[in-house]
Each structure stands twice: as structure tokens, then as C-alpha cells.
């Protein structure tokens, strides 16, 4: 029963293809169909998650701000995405007269392609990797680089100063945060000895003492690298507190200013799918991928765990958005270069020492020291400049 549920998606696909095969459908059509089923399922699941997220995010934010949030359309406002979709499709598609029409049209498309392509390498469950690549992590970041081109195209082609400013900020932010993001991801690849996501998940399998999961996030270096990766992921997906490229109080909407109707919705969708993808990579690299957190919970199928963990990480991102104010551009870039980058190097060193000290209790202490001491030094020096002192007013009481 358990294994049946576990293998259900694969078995259903094989059964369907065998059924078609028995009707004499040629082999190559089956091969195309097999790929098509996987692609369709993944896109369907993630667009469904996007629809769910778009309403849940507003609900959670509303809860954090002590109000109701959307509750008119359907039960608990759950059909809000349908209403949003109809609204987006029926809206007029405005293109500025001086815009670069072709590039303006191509930008949302270019944005969507990498967001969907990176989904190919995530291990969704036991033996459920759409594209088993030897260098999957590298593929993720290589394809993800296309997003920057799309943001630039959107910002420049709109022929609007807010758009260009927003795009410049977004690209500066993406390039700066890509470094700590990639280095903290490489740390896990170094310990697992492979760039393939499924090998990294496999390296986190098993339980210490029978119940403690051996996820990388539960080691000192993994905790540090995981936090860095999480912060980098927030910045890469332009989420609060790093949403200043489209800070509405200064830049209208950044590179999205001149987009309306379904092109705007495409950007929105690509941003959310990209966020889910990077959450999925975070889960794969640090939170054990599709593995259950406790031995007796393994009765729940692995793909449920994976989607559940993605939803949890996405929830924490909304939580962060409800909590933290937006950063200023120079603070944001300074934080990436002066704090996150050195810390990711520290995590790198720490992981190497952990490996060579035998991965035992001693190694644990050593790697904790290598991560902790730079954190204390950098952290105190970084916060000293922002020391809070009593504000004195010159002209009022």
C-alpha cells in the first residue's frame, strides 16, 4: 500500500503508456507523450501552487496585519485567483508609443522560459527526477541567469526612467546575491561529492541515533550555508525585504511599470514559479529533499514531503515579507558583499574542515567555531555603524 502510493505517479504514467502501446501507437509517439506527461504535470502542479500561493499570501499577510484579506470569491476567498485571472486577461494591453515593441513583447516570454526550465532538475520524490543531469546544480544557476536578461529587456524596452532604474537595481541585486547563493550551494555539492541533485538528496538520507535526520541544515556549516542560501533566494526572486527594484514608493513598479494585462500577469507568474523553484532547490540542498523528517513518517509518500516542504519554505518567505521593512539599495549591496560573501566563504571552509575532521563530534565543534567566529566578528562590526542611540531633537521636544 505504502509503496503503491509512493510509486503512484510513475505507475499511472506507465499504465497509461502501456494502454496506448497495446493499441499499436508507434514507439516514438509514446516517447514524446512520456516526456509531455511529465512536463504537463510539473507545469500544472506549479501553476496550481502559484494560484494557491497568490491567495494564501494575501491571506497570511492579512492575518499578520490583523485584517481579513480576500474573502468574497468562493469559500474563504479561495476562488480569488480565478477572478484575478479573468481580470488580467480582459484588461487592455498597453504598450507605450516610444517603447521598443519587439523587445517589450519578448521580455515576459524570456522571463517565463528560465523559470519553467529550472524545474526540470528538482528531485520531486524517490526516483522522480525529470532530467537526471550530472551537473544539475550548475544547470539550475546557468538557466536561471536568463532571468537577468529578461529583467533588463523589460526595463530598457519600456523607454521609461522608472523602468530603467528598476531594472538596473534588479540586475545589480541579482548579480551581487548570485555569488553567495552559488557558493553556499556549492558547499553541499562539495560534501555530497556530486553536482547532481539526486545524489545530494541521497547524501542526506538516513537517521542518526535512529531519529535525527541527517539533513545538511542540521550541521553548523549547513545551517550557515542554508541561511545564506535562503537570504540569497529571497533576493534572487525579488521578494521582500529585497523587493526594492519594484519599490512602489519610489519607482512606481520598477521594470514592470509599463506592463499591463496578461504581460504583467506573465511576469508575476514567472516570479512566483521562480520562487517555488528556488525554494525547491533550497529543500533539495539543505532540508533533505523528499526524505521524511522522522522514520515513522516515511509512510507518507516522498513527493508529498517535497511539495509540503516547498510550501513550508514559501510560507516562511511570506512571513518574512510581513515582518521586515524594505532595505535601502546601498545597505542591500553592502550586506551582500561585506557580510554574506565572507560568510559563505567561512561556511565553505567550515564544511571542508568538517569533512576532513571525520564528521564526528570533534568535527562538529570545529566547524561551529569556523562559522561562528567570523559571524561574531563580522556581525558586530557590521551592526556597530547602525548602533541605536537616543535620538536628540534640535527644534522640538
Amino acid at each position: 500500500m505504502i509503496t503503491l502510493l509512493e510509486r503512484a505517479p510513475i505507475e499511472i504514467k506507465t499504465w497509461f503508456l502501456n494502454l496506448l502501446g497495446s493499441f499499436g501507437v508507434p514507439e516514438w509517439i509514446l516517447a514524446v507523450l512520456s516526456a509531455g506527461i511529465i512536463i504537463g504535470t510539473i507545469i500544472g502542479v506549479f501553476l496550481g501552487l502559484f494560484a494557491l500561493m497568490s491567495v494564501m499570501e494575501r491571506k497570511i499577510l492579512a492575518r499578520a496585519q490583523n485584517r481579513y484579506g480576500p474573502n468574497r470569491v468562493g469559500p474563504f476567498g479561495l476562488f480569488q485567483p480565478v477572478a484575478d485571472g479573468i481580470k488580467m486577461i480582459t484588461k487592455e494591453d498597453l504598450v507605450p508609443r516610444t517603447a521598443d515593441k519587439i523587445v517589450h513583447f519578448l521580455a515576459p516570454v524570456t522571463m517565463m522560459i528560465p523559470a519553467l526550465m529550472v524545474l526540470a532538475i528538482l528531485p520531486y520524490g524517490r526516483d522522480m527526477v525529470p532530467a537526471e543531469l550530472d551537473s544539475g546544480i550548475l544547470y539550475f544557476f546557468a538557466v536561471g541567469a536568463g532571468t537577468e536578461v529578461a529583467v533588463f529587456m523589460a526595463g530598457w524596452s519600456s523607454n521609461n526612467k522608472y523602468s530603467v532604474l528598476g531594472a538596473m537595481r534588479a540586475i545589480a541585486q541579482m548579480i551581487s546575491y548570485e555569488l553567495p547563493l552559488v557558493i553556499s550551494a556549492i558547499v553541499t555539492a562539495m560534501i555530497a561529492g556530486s553536482l547532481s541533485p539526486s545524489a545530494i538528496v541521497a547524501a542526506q538520507g538516513g537517521f542518526a541515533l535512529g531519529f535525527v535526520p541527517q539533513w545538511f541544515a542540521l550541521t553548523p556549516w549547513g545551517f550557515a550555508a542554508g541561511l545564506i542560501f535562503y537570504i540569497g533566494a529571497l533576493a534572487e526572486s525579488n521578494r521582500s525585504p529585497f523587493d526594492l527594484p519594484e519599490g512602489e514608493s519610489e519607482l512606481v513598479a520598477g521594470h514592470l511599470t509599463e506592463y499591463s494585462g496578461f504581460k504583467y500577469a506573465t511576469f508575476f507568474m514567472a516570479e512566483y514559479v521562480g520562487m517555488f523553484a528556488v525554494c525547491g532547490l533550497f529543500v533539495t540542498l539543505f532540508l533533505g529533499g523528499w526524505q521524511a523528517p522522522l522514520p515513522f513518517l516515511e509512510i507518507i509518500p516522498s513527493w508529498c514531503w517535497f511539495i509540503g516542504k516547498i510550501c513550508f519554505v514559501a510560507f516562511t518567505m511570506v512571513w518574512v515579507r510581513a515582518t521586515l521593512p524594505r532595505l535601502r539599495i546601498d545597505h542591500m549591496l553592502g550586506f551582500a558583499w561585506k557580510f554574506l560573501l565572507p560568510m559563505s566563504f567561512a561556511a565553505f571552509l567550515s564544511a571542508a574542515c568538517w569533512h576532513y575532521a571525520g564528521r564526528g563530534p570533534l568535527a562538529w565543534l570545529l566547524s561551529l567555531a569556523i562559522v561562528g567566529i567570523p559571524y561574531l566578528i563580522l556581525g558586530t562590526s557590521f551592526t556597530k555603524r547602525f548602533a541605536v542611540s537616543r535620538r536628540t531633537y534640535r527644534f522640538s521636544e
Binding site: P26, E27, W28, A31, V32, D100, V103, L133, D134, S135, L138, Y139, F141, A142, V143, G144, A145, G146, E148, V149, F152, M153, W156, V164, M168, I171, I175, E178, G193, S194, L195
Partner: protein, 183 residues
């Protein structure tokens, strides 16, 4: 021969498509590279150059050099193209939005002559060099682990030297960009 080709087309078109699909990114690469040279609008030229970077990465992947292809995409599309675009945006705003291509006046003739001359020189060097006479090595599909071991083993000195060079370049750039504190 033709008959066999048609037969494969009917029974297993994916095979034919797979064989011919390798050519597609190469064609895109050539067209995009040519467009990036002749476009007068600098941003369009930069975007075409980015497209040619992407196509080159796909050519590498299609030829089996997966790792090189991904690194090409990561470095060239993610960093080099963006720095290029930044440089264009920060320097000459009046040049940006010219339309049309460069084919006007005497310039193209001179350009074509110079290009042809350098092509001849390059070809002459390529065909007379001793490397050309060596037989082609058999294609290997190296796993990432093997590439990593080669880099950290046999070629570790070169790797470290490049690291030092890049660090020096980074420090130099930071020093250049630093504000002059002296009055």
C-alpha cells in the same frame, strides 16, 4: 540512401530530429553573431550578442560538453552580457537608439576588406600550425567529477594562478572605484 532516410522519417522521426536539431543552435549562433555586428542600435546588438552566447552554450551541450555549456551560460549570459549592458547604459546615451544597420557609406566595404584579410591570415596560420596535423582525439564525454579531479590534480597550479590573477583584478577594480579620501 534517400529511401532509407524517408523510411526512418516515418518510423522514428525523433531520431532524425535529434540528429538535425544539433544544427539549429549553430545556425542561431551564426545569425545572432552576425546581427550583433551589423545592428546599429547598441542595445539590440548587445541582446543579439547575448543570444549568440546562449546559442553557443546550447551548441556545447548538444555536442556532449555539458559542463562547458552550462559554465558558458552561467558566466557569459549571467555576468558578461549584463556587464556589457551596464557599460552601454552608463556611457553613451545618444548612441543607443539609432535604427537600421551599418550598411551605408564606404564603411562596410572597408570592414569587409579588413575582415576578409584577417580571415585569410587566420586560416593560413590555422592550416600551417602543427596542431592541425595531429589527428583529432576521440570525443570523450567527461563526467563533472573527472573534470573536477583534473582541475584539482594535474592542473591545480594553473587553477590557483588564475585565482590569484582574478583576485588581483578584483582588488584593483575596488581600488580604482574607491573614493579618494584625501582633500
Amino acid at each position: 540512401m534517400m529511401c532509407e532516410f524517408l523510411k526512418t522519417c516515418c518510423t522514428d522521426p525523433m531520431k532524425i530530429i535529434g540528429e538535425w536539431l544539433v544544427l539549429l543552435p549553430a545556425i542561431v549562433l551564426l545569425l545572432a553573431a552576425a546581427a550583433s555586428v551589423v545592428m546599429r542600435n547598441l542595445i539590440h546588438a548587445a541582446l543579439c550578442l547575448t543570444l549568440s552566447f546562449i546559442a553557443l552554450g546550447i551548441v556545447f551541450i548538444a555536442l556532449g560538453a555539458e559542463f562547458v555549456g552550462f559554465v558558458q551560460l552561467l558566466v557569459y549570459v549571467g555576468a558578461v552580457a549584463m556587464i556589457l549592458v551596464f557599460a552601454i547604459l552608463l556611457t553613451r546615451p545618444e548612441q543607443l537608439t539609432k535604427s537600421g544597420t551599418l550598411f551605408s557609406g564606404l564603411g562596410p566595404a572597408g570592414g569587409a576588406l579588413a575582415g576578409f584579410a584577417s580571415l585569410v591570415v587566420l586560416l593560413a596560420f590555422i592550416f600551417t600550425s602543427p596542431v592541425a596535423k595531429k589527428p583529432l582525439p576521440a570525443p570523450v564525454s567527461a563526467p563533472v567529477a573527472a573534470i573536477g579531479e583534473a582541475l584539482m590534480g594535474d592542473y591545480v597550479v594553473a587553477l590557483l594562478l588564475i585565482g590569484v590573477l582574478l583576485t588581483a583584478a578584483l582588488v584593483g577594480a575596488a581600488v580604482l572605484a574607491m573614493e579618494d579620501k584625501k582633500p
